[in-house]
């Protein structure tokens, strides 16, 4: 009879440990970029490389935010416009527009997806204390897709869970948050 109680105790400990770990895990280096006035960050570990904007081959019958495909040194990878993904206004591509090649989890291992952003600014070193949990925006605004918020030099940066952002179609709520 002793065994089950031990189990629950250890399970409880595990949950606490996991929560603590996520907090610890969120700390680290983030690549900061912006879409219009909003500042974002994604974990550097998820970034494969950053490249200037180049010609994108459009693919028919795909969602609007999927701009098409590009050639990444012999590999064909899809490119998503993050502005459109978050239902923000479309913007002309300029010299500063970048494609961040991210490595996200797919059905079979990881896959590469490019993200078009207005520009990248810096790599931030965030400690666990810099990161706050996503505030409760009220019932309608879902916060999956967000890792949290970081306050750096008086500005708030939205930390994206890029795995979630890239692998989920419907991010309307996230878009609402940005408006």
């Amino acid at each position: 009879m002793a065994t089950p109680s031990v189990n629950t105790a250890s399970a409880g400990a595990a949950v606490i440990a996991a929560a603590a770990r996520t907090k610890e895990e969120r700390a680290g280096k983030y690549l900061a970029f912006h879409l219009g006035p909003e500042e974002f960050g994604i974990q550097v570990l998820k970034v494969r490389e950053i490249m200037g904007i180049q010609e994108i081959t459009a693919v028919p019958h795909t969602p609007l935010h999927t701009k098409g495909v590009i050639n990444l040194r012999g590999k064909v990878i899809p490119v998503v416009d993050l502005r459109l993904k978050f239902s923000m206004e479309e913007a002309e591509y300029t010299q500063r527009t970048c494609i961040i090649v991210t490595e996200v989890g797919g059905e079979n291992g990881t896959m590469l997806i490019g993200a078009v952003v207005d520009g990248v600014s810096e790599v931030l070193n965030l400690s666990a204390a810099d990161i706050e949990d996503t505030p409760d925006f009220g019932g309608e605004v879902a916060t999956s897709g967000l890792l949290g918020m970081a306050k750096v030099k008086g500005k708030v940066k939205i930390l994206l869970d890029i795995d979630h952002v890239m692998t989920h179609q419907d991010l309307k709520e996230l878009g609402q948050l940005l408006h």
Binding site: E55, T57, A58, V59, P60, H61, T62, T66, G68, V69, I70, N71, R73, G74, K75, V76, I77, P78, G106, E107, N108, M111, L112, I113, M166, T167
Partner: protein, 674 residues
């Protein structure tokens, strides 16, 4: 293993050696009390009986000794089966387990082909040794990685083979069946381990205890009366001859069989020798190499075609550039060839299939393999396995007649299935031929009418009639057997072949046999493409589905009520698809006379595609668009064009069927409007 049981076992063995009857019995009795498995209990009791019943007999002592050994493996096997999925090696050392999977597969293949040779030549020492060694290696590896079930079975089979090797046992067909069954079991387990390794949900291990028991029965000399050899090789040869040809074998036939076997064995050893000079490379690495080589080719052509360099007349530079081009081409060719493997690995499996299927169907058939060295892309060979197996099964079930029927029509009793592979221009041809009764045209026709596949009064050419067997739900077998005849299959075969961008044809002569001709590309990685421009995009059509292209004359395009736009091409009215519309692109030109029309064909249907311009012909490496875009309608993949940009490869079948779906909707809406 249980420590207590182990100690008792040791004790029993020592007492037995020292000849202490009473103590041996006591040890065995104690052993019986600590063991849980009923099987082991039974064995221990039996051994006790043996020891009690008498003692002096040396043979009996040997039997007890062997029994104890078996008890020992049984105990360790019980251990292994109690924790089959939790082999710690799976988590700790996935690489090692991966190696085990590969190696075990290779050995199982050796075992299988070896056993088929043994069937004709039961005491061939080389083959017996090879099979024995394979099982031995599997056992060793499995033991090391703690796959108890595999280890236990391999150990027992190894014992059988050892007995056969030392001439104490003859490999009768039943024994060979049992060994094959065991190798199948090991194969299944290996497959399961592989699935676990990939992180898939672990399926329950197949229960091998029944099989294990039967194998053990053989070793103990029960159940199967294994014929001991009475040191008369002549008798063995006779037995072999009877087994090989089953009925009234003439001497010459035996000789022929022996010669054939000899040659296949020789071929085996040659293959084995070639294997040692190969190294295993991760396919991901290989794919990366191919990607990089592709990039190198593009970079090279960009450099070579750079206007500034082209204008430079420096002969030394030009010479060096030419050298670079030659080397690049060579590297590309070699890199492409790394994915090619001989078709022989696939053919070997047919041997086994023919053996099993013909026996089940009560028929006799031999396999003839030609061109096993022909090379094909690994993926194609893998994807080809099911269709070929299906066709061979069909050939035996429907094609080859029963022995008595064959004798009556003056054919040899044993039918022949011939598999032939050879290279023809830029593709590979595979033929699957049987010398059976051939396809019955009348029967196919009546069946097709009955099923409503064709109209009552349709007139069809011979080749068209044969193609009917690829229609879904078509089967002419009078009765359904468990081999084939349910009419699922030939349509799947055709689909599969088409998926591999191949073609399938049939030739058949009544009473003489049927031959399937498969025409396949050498590799799936490369396709000869026609690059066309639509709007701002460049699209690639696979050239094998393009018939011709032309600029239409005025009035050649017309609208037919209810069927959309049609084009008159060589007195044939073909449907027109404006490519920009089905892909949602903006065309440069909407007037038919100023566009380019391409006549294409997929799945036997012709249609016309409208594009803006023709850009060129190019061999392109097909690439996936990645997980998220993989299933995009109308797009088969991407390819990197000469300037480094991505072009989309069209899936013409999807584009055509979508157009049809639209036409239907259109017609319905017209009806509603009326």
């Amino acid at each position: 293993m249980d420590i207590q049981a182990e100690a008792l076992l040791d004790q029993a063995a020592t007492q037995l050696m020292m000849g202490e009857q009473a103590d041996t019995v006591a040890a065995l009795a104690a052993l019986g009390e600590v063991m849980q498995s009923p099987e082991a209990l039974e064995l221990a009791a039996e051994l006790r009986g043996l020891v009690e019943s008498g003692w002096d007999d040396a043979e009996k002592q040997g039997r007890v000794q062997r029994g104890l050994d078996r008890l020992r493996t049984m105990l360790s096997a019980v251990d292994g089966q109690a924790v089959p999925a939790q082999s710690s090696a799976l988590n700790q050392d996935p690489e090692l387990v991966g190696d085990f999977v590969l190696e075990a597969r290779e050995h199982l293949q050796t075992v299988e082909s070896g056993l088929l040779v043994l069937e004709k030549e039961p005491s061939n020492p080389d083959v017996l040794n090879a099979v024995f060694r394979s099982f031995h290696t599997i056992k060793g590896l499995a033991g090391f990685l703690e796959f108890g079930a595999i280890q236990a079975l391999a150990h027992e089979v190894e014992t059988i083979l050892d007995l056969a090797r030392t001439g104490q046992l003859l490999m009768t067909p039943r024994l060979i069946d049992l060994t094959l069954e065991s190798s199948d079991y090991v194969g299944q387990e290996v497959h399961r381990i592989e699935a676990q390794l990939r992180g898939e949900a672990a399926s329950a291990p197949t229960d091998g205890t029944a099989l294990l028991k039967r194998v053990r029965g053989v070793i103990a000399g029960e159940e199967m009366a294994a014929s001991p050899i009475e040191s008369k090789p002549v008798a063995v040869a006779e037995a072999a001859a009877v087994e090989a040809t089953v009925v009234e074998a003439t001497k010459s036939e035996v000789a022929v069989a022996a010669v054939e076997v000899g040659s296949t064995v020789k071929a085996k050893t040659r293959v084995a020798a070639a294997d040692t000079q190969a190294i295993r490379v991760d396919t991901a690495k290989l794919d990366y190499l191919l990607d990089m080589v592709g990039e190198m080719v593009i970079a090279e052509s960009m450099v070579r075609l750079d206007p500034e360099l082209a204008g430079n007349k420096n002969p030394k530079l030009q010479r060096n550039l030419n050298q670079l081009r030659r080397v690049t081409e060579e590297v590309q060719k070699v890199a492409m060839a790394t994915r090619l493997i001989p078709v022989g690995t696939l053919f070997q499996r047919v041997n086994r299939l023919v053996r099993d299927t013909s026996r089940k169907a009560g028929k006799m058939a031999e396999v003839e393999l030609v061109g096993e060295d022909t090379q094909l892309d690994k993926t194609i060979i893998e994807e080809l396995s099911d269709p070929i197996m299906h066709m061979v099964r069909n050939s035996i079930d429907h094609g080859i007649e029963r022995p008595e029927e064959r004798r009556e029509s003056g054919k040899p009793e044993s039918g022949t299935i011939q598999l032939k592979a050879y290279r023809q221009a830029d593709h590979i041809q595979i033929e699957i031929a049987d010398d059976g009764r051939g396809l019955n045209q009348a029967k196919i026709l009546s069946k097709a009418r009955e099923r409503g596949v064709i109209a009552e009064n349709a007139q069809l050419a011979e080749s068209e009639i044969f193609q009917l067997i690829f229609e879904p739900g078509f089967s002419t077998a009078d009765k359904v057997t468990d081999i084939s005849g349910r009419g699922v299959g030939m349509d799947v075969v055709k689909k599969q072949i088409q998926k591999l961008r191949g073609k399938i044809d049939i030739h058949s002569t009544p009473g003489k046999g049927t031959t399937f001709y498969l025409k396949l590309p050498m590799t799936l990685a490369i396709v000869e493409g026609l690059v066309v421009g639509v709007g701002r995009e460049r699209l690639i059509l696979p050239i094998f589905s393009v018939h011709e292209m032309f600029r239409p004359a005025e009035g050649q395009v017309s609208t037919v009520q209810g069927r959309g736009e049609m084009v008159m091409v060589r007195n044939q009215l073909l449907p027109l698809i404006r490519l920009h519309r089905s892909l949602g692109l903006r065309a440069r030109n909407e007037i038919p006379e100023e566009t380019l029309l391409i006549v294409a064909e997929t799945e036997g249907r012709r249609f016309v595609l409208m594009v803006d311009e023709f850009i060129g012909k190019q061999e392109v490496v097909i690439k996936s668009l990645g997980e998220s875009l993989r299933n995009t309608r109308g797009i088969a993949g991407g390819a990197i064009l000469g300037d480094g940009r991505v072009g989309l490869i069209l899936d013409l079948a999807a584009i055509y069927s979508e157009r049809n779906a639209k036409a239907v909707v259109l017609r319905e809406s017209v009806l509603v409007a009326c």
